[in-house]
């Protein structure tokens, strides 16, 4: 009898632990899904950087356009080229609407990513994408504003890779944050999300114009 009882207790504990583990994993999964949902966190803010043409730029200059801001570096072996390529394909799919959007690729590797390196790199993907870099402090400031994490991981041969937030940020023509785009999104998904946003605003404007 007591044998059965301890077995039952053990089973109950096992189930409870299982549930706890499952719910913990679920909350983890939920966090990764969350980026496409609107959140209360604000991303972005004023910044001063240098574009890939060597010109100083501020966030003010981009007012009036939608911005897609994403972070990476030109030596990035796998994720950044994929993101840049996906972004370029998404812009193609948007057709003429893409003119309303300025994609900004912000380097988290200002040490190696000079404007010249960025210019050559970005041009290989899409001339519509503007590469931005700056001093270490300027890059740190813009990363902070977007809650972007980046961290240098040195290798044994004098080089390094950088782990970094790969999420994309859509900002409105007023400079305000609109939406997160998850890094795993395909070009079709990105184009769809952007089209929805662009249409939404167009609808609102039409509504306002009505007497």
């Amino acid at each position: 009898m007591s044998g059965l009882k301890s077995l039952l207790v053990a089973a109950a504990v096992a189930i409870a632990l299982g549930l706890a583990a499952a719910s913990w994993r679920y909350s983890g999964a939920k966090q990764t899904v969350a980026p496409s949902e609107p959140t209360n966190v604000t991303f972005g803010g004023p910044f001063t950087l240098v574009d890939h043409n060597g010109r100083s730029v501020t966030s003010q200059q981009f007012l009036g356009k939608y911005l897609i801001v994403f972070f990476g570096y030109t030596s990035c072996p796998a994720v950044c080229p994929t993101t840049l390529l996906t972004m370029s394909q998404a812009l193609d799919q948007l057709g003429g609407e893409a003119k309303r959007i300025q994609p900004l690729f912000v380097s988290v590797d200002p040490e190696r990513d000079t404007p010249k390196v960025l210019a050559e790199y970005v041009a290989q993907f899409d001339k519509r994408i503007l590469g931005l870099t700056g001093s270490a402090a300027e890059v740190a400031a813009v990363a902070r504003a977007f809650h972007v994490y980046y961290h240098k991981v040195p290798d044994d041969h004098g080089g390094y890779d950088i782990e970094h937030t790969a999420t994309m940020y859509l900002m409105g023509p007023d400079g305000k944050f609109l939406m997160l785009i998850p890094p795993e999104a395909s070009s079709r998904k990105i184009a769809m999300l952007l089209r929805e946003r662009l249409n939404e605003v167009a609808d609102e404007l039409t509504e306002q114009e009505k007497p």
């Binding site: 966090q31 990764t32 980026p35 030109t74 030596s75 072996p77 796998a78 994720v79 080229p81 994929t82 840049l84 390529l85 370029s88 394909q89 193609d92 190696r112 990513d113 390196v117 050559e120 790199y121 290989q124 993907f125 899409d126 994490y149 991981v153 290798d155 044994d156 041969h157 004098g158 080089g159 390094y160 890779d161 782990e163 970094h164 937030t165 790969a166 999420t167 997160l180 998850p182 890094p183 795993e184 999104a185 395909s186 070009s187 079709r188 998904k189 769809m192």
Partner: protein
Amino acid sequence: MKMAVGRIALVLLAFITCATTVSADDASSKITVSHAWARATVPSAKNGAVFLTITAPPGLSDKLIAVRSSAAEQVQLHRNTMENGIARMQSIAAIELAQGKAVKLDPRGLHVMLVGLKRPLQEGDRITLTLVFEKSGDMSVEVPVLAANAAEPLSPNEASADSPTRSHDMHGHQMENHMD
């Protein structure tokens, strides 16, 4: 448009060149490697990635335990992880190959990492890798270097990427509108 044509040409080139990398002898009982490619790197880059598909034959499970190449100081096996939007790379000891299954190393998952490149990877270059399998031993693979903006040769149109149903629905609606 020019870029699109260029990309298609690259993809075709990748197919043609990759065909030559597949083990020539008795493919049915041996590990085969296909769709090997690398992306060109910027001159300042010290590391580069190689992608390929490895298929173990039916009846033989194996393990990729190391990769050697004279193109870099060191070659590692890496896994990309994406957690809470943060992209990280993790060095892994081996890649398991289940019998009869293809394991795809691509930019979103596993890759061979060339650490400490002796010179940057340039489009049109070819580099040689030696894949070391636990049971099958060494296998030499020639890898074409494609443009920095090259997509995976296997899925240039993102066939399996996401929500094809949704996009079909949208096409459906558009067609209805036209008919109205």
